[in-house]
């Protein structure tokens, strides 16, 4: 990540200088910075709502029940997580919300999952294998029906806005498979 950060900034400065528009580089950085704050602040409401509901579900024993039910699916992928651990239910909810296109709910569940996984992390500050795998799954777009794209196609007067549905799903499955394989294979190399 250190390398990426430096590459982006140095690349920006070089291209800006060559194109003779250095001002745009600074402007872009400032806009990005305030965008970051806006995004984070915008998350507060949904985050509070879902984390509140999560706590209720936890106290009602629902979280543990869900984790035990999802165990057979998650066991092979996440062997280090104890049975009935809340991390499993949070990951399950995150993935389900992503599949249904409920982005508002997916992020709080994902953060909850990262927090629960962090409790099992012997090296705080460094991602564990389980965390990397969970992140990798999240970087493959899981949404079953790309509603935003279909809506945009419809408003652009496409003859068949939903024709991209199956191709998208197929490409997503490819991306997800590679994400999981990459996380599993690289975990031995990348300590």
């Amino acid at each position: 990540m250190n390398l990426v950060f430096v590459l982006l900034l140095v690349g920006a400065a070089i291209v800006g200088a060559v194109r003779g528009d250095v001002k745009a580089v600074g402007q872009g950085a400032f806009e990005g910075a305030s965008q970051g704050v806006t995004l984070a602040i915008g998350l507060i409401g949904v985050m509070a709502l879902w984390l509140g509901l999560m706590r209720v579900a936890e106290k009602a024993g629902l979280v543990e029940k869900l984790a035990r039910a999802a165990r057979p699916v998650f066991r092979p992928l996440f062997p280090t997580i104890p049975d009935g651990h809340p991390a499993i239910s949070a990951m399950l909810l995150n993935i389900a919300a992503n599949m249904m296109g409920l982005g508002n709910a997916a992020t709080p569940f994902g953060i909850k999952a990262m927090e629960e996984l962090e409790k099992l992390n012997p090296t705080p500050g460094t991602a564990t294998n389980a965390q990397v795998l969970f992140l990798a799954i999240n970087t493959a777009s899981l949404q079953l029906v790309p509603t935003t794209v279909i809506a945009l196609r419809a408003s652009a007067r496409s003859n068949d806005p939903a024709e991209v549905l199956l191709p998208t799903l197929l490409a997503t499955v490819c991306a997800l498979t590679v994400a999981i394989l990459a996380a599993k294979l690289l975990e031995r190399v990348w300590k």
Binding site: G32, G36, A48, V56, A105, T126, A136, V145, T168, A179
Partner: protein
């Protein structure tokens, strides 16, 4: 259209079931639901504040990179190579922006749809649609999720995420070529 509407209705119902079902279930089980909710919700603010530095770092760097026009420059260099492979110059900038900015990529897709001679039913429009739906804003996902727990060393998470994006892109191109070229 039908599929999308059915799916959106299903999504809304799931939302309502969770929103109403969890507190109701808790109440039946004897949980002090209101107190528990407020206690959990308190965390929301802290989490949002915790991820600010992570988001600012990556989005400022990405903003500078895009502001400088580095994306366009990169696209110009790569277009002669990717064009013959089935990734035309009209879609390439979108493919490059996708891991960095979801809204940016969606804006570029809108441009493709609005360009005379292209539009949503052109090869570029269809490929862009599949691409948008099968890849994710990897940098955003990593900074939010890692930021929320203070992880600064991502290990192979970035590599895995970018590999997934690259696979989504490659698969989109292959599928689009088979169906629409």
């Amino acid at each position: 259209m039908e599929v999308r509407h059915a799916f959106e209705i299903a999504s809304s119902w799931i939302l309502i079931v969770l929103l109403v079902g969890i507190p109701l279930y808790g109440w039946v089980k004897g949980v002090k639901v209101y107190e528990a909710f407020v206690e959990g919700a308190k965390e929301g603010f802290n989490v949002a504040v915790r991820i600010i530095p992570f988001l600012v770092a990556i989005l400022a760097a990405v903003g500078a990179f895009r502001g400088a026009g580095a994306m366009d420059a990169l696209a110009k260099v790569l277009a002669p190579i990717t064009g013959p492979l089935g990734l035309p110059a009209e879609v390439l900038p979108m493919a490059l922006v996708r891991p960095l900015s979801g809204s940016g990529a969606l804006g570029l897709l809108g441009n493709i749809f609005a360009t005379p001679g292209l539009g949503p039913d052109s090869y570029a429009g269809r490929l862009g649609s599949v691409l948008q739906g099968s890849t994710e804003t990897t940098f955003y996902v990593l900074s939010v999720y890692c930021g929320s727990v203070g992880i600064v060393r991502y290990r192979h998470a970035l590599a895995a995420g970018l590999l997934a994006d690259f696979t989504g892109l490659t698969a989109s191109v292959i599928i689009a070529r088979m169906l629409w070229a």
